[in-house]
Amino acid sequence: MHLVPGDPFIGAKAIPQATKDAMYAKYGLDKPLFVQFVLYVANVLHGDLGISLADKRAVVDIIGQAFPVSLDLGIRSLIFAFIVGLLLGIVAAVHRGKAGDTAAMLVALIGVSVPSFIIGALIQYFLGLKLFQATGVRVFAIMGWTGFNSKILPAFALAFGSMATISRLMRTSMLDVLSQDYIKTAKAKGLSQTQIIWKHAVRNAIMPVVTVLGPLVAAVLTGAFVVENIFAIPGLGKYFVQCVQSNDYTVISGTTLFYGAFLVFANLVVDIVYGLIDPRVKLTGGKE
């Protein structure tokens, strides 16, 4: 972290060297790098990520306050991306080569082709402001993270890319599943198309989609950097970008560490979910 140029305590004023020394001592930055590192690791193990150099709050507190918001946003957008993505993928696969397919895949392509900061700015303006001005009804709030109507647009902006990924994946996987023998078996039983899709195809087709959930969580986390800024949401992503811009390296390292840990955790959850969906995966890895 010490590679970051600049000094965390620099304000615009020149601080007398004496004062600076005092501050370095206060935050333990006067010790040798190695000692600092050991101390940091020791503290981390105790759940102490240090104190923000910019606003002197405990990094743990910052994460504790900002992350739930990001998590809320992330979960909403993942759920949104997942449901809509799956539906689009299913529609596309079932109507393969027909208009439904084309339409669904068009949405998906737009999703992967338009960066979230453009989508975010556009929907804020059109769905947030213009819609309100046209109808006089506050359908969506423009900013903040308070009422339900403030949580739709950012979640959508954040979800758009992931939704596209999911729908494309779901389509491929669904096509694959639909060509499987057990679908033929189901058809031979006299089940209707709808029953086949929902009872047999979807659960199997979801599995490859579930495996990308881990990377998608990462994508959503980083996507939040932009979206939280645009919609003025007090989440960790917005905070992180600020800290990067102001060299607040306790927060940078703390947050990075936290993001890493969270992703590990998310991947674990994904594994568990995968195990729940696919009975062939034994979580315990135990006896056979």
């Binding site: 970051v4 082709s113 960066p115 453009i118 980083t222 932009v226 990067v244 993001y259």
Partner: protein, 330 residues
Amino acid sequence: MAKKTQPAAPAEVLQYDPKGHIDTAAFERIGTDTADMEAIARPSISFWKDAFNRVRRSPTAVICTILLVILIIGAIFIPFFSTFSISQQNVAFSNKPPMSVDSLTNGVHIFGTDALGRDIWVRTWAGARVSLTVAFAVAIIDCLVGVIYGGVSGYFGGAVDNVMMRIVEIISGIPYLIIVMLLMIVMDRGLGSIIIAYSITGWTGMARLVRGQVMSLKEQEFLIAAQAMGAKPRRIIGRHLVPNILSVIIVNVTLDIPNIIFTEAFLSMLGLGIAPPNSSWGILANDGIAVFQQYPFELVVPALFICVTMLSFNLLGDQLRDAFDPKLRR
């Protein structure tokens, strides 16, 4: 066996009446014809040619390729031949809509002017240069590093693989944007830094992919056959593995490029992109967003370029994937 030239012969076209009398001559025995028996249905054509034909037959792929070629050529040449330079300003003539005629030079601003009265047309093409250079450079680096790393890891397997993959997991455990951002503050602004910053994390995806491919190829019988024939690792890698994963790599690269373009745009969005007066699509889009309520075209132009490029690469990648898919062959 009949050849392709003959249409299907339905039973109705009878020359002989089965119920009636048939001349004995018709029952002359001719026996088997070896040449005919061993005839090969498919024409002789190499894998790459076949894939290329497939791509050529898909209108989507052709259109995407044409678009990309136009973009590349435009990016190379248009900045040279434009009436305006990328930094030339006419601040009194700022934010003018497309096709405005400049108040000083009387040149036409095809895409209008930006907040400093610079020509968006030339800045867009110059931006294409930056964005595409970054995209291709990173793609090539990722490719090289990823293929070598993934190849080594997958080929040798065992403990080597274990260690190498743990490293990859650690690197990719942190969202790459975080790493790229951190690197960008450490390094000086510029094309080189962006390329390096992205390359440092970007190769992991390719490494994983290549490793997976190599692992599955290793189990393939034709590789086992080569091993059984006493082929040395170099031969196996060079003659069998590489040609067989090349298509997967190409597809992956085309699908990776949009990601890189997006990253560049994102960095510009955070002010971590390349320095003015140079332009990139990210910078243009970011400037455009700031004023899109007043001058929408300033966002529309770069956004359109970004989207079309991403779209083209994505679609082309999809088409290539189909063209190279071994399941669609046989």
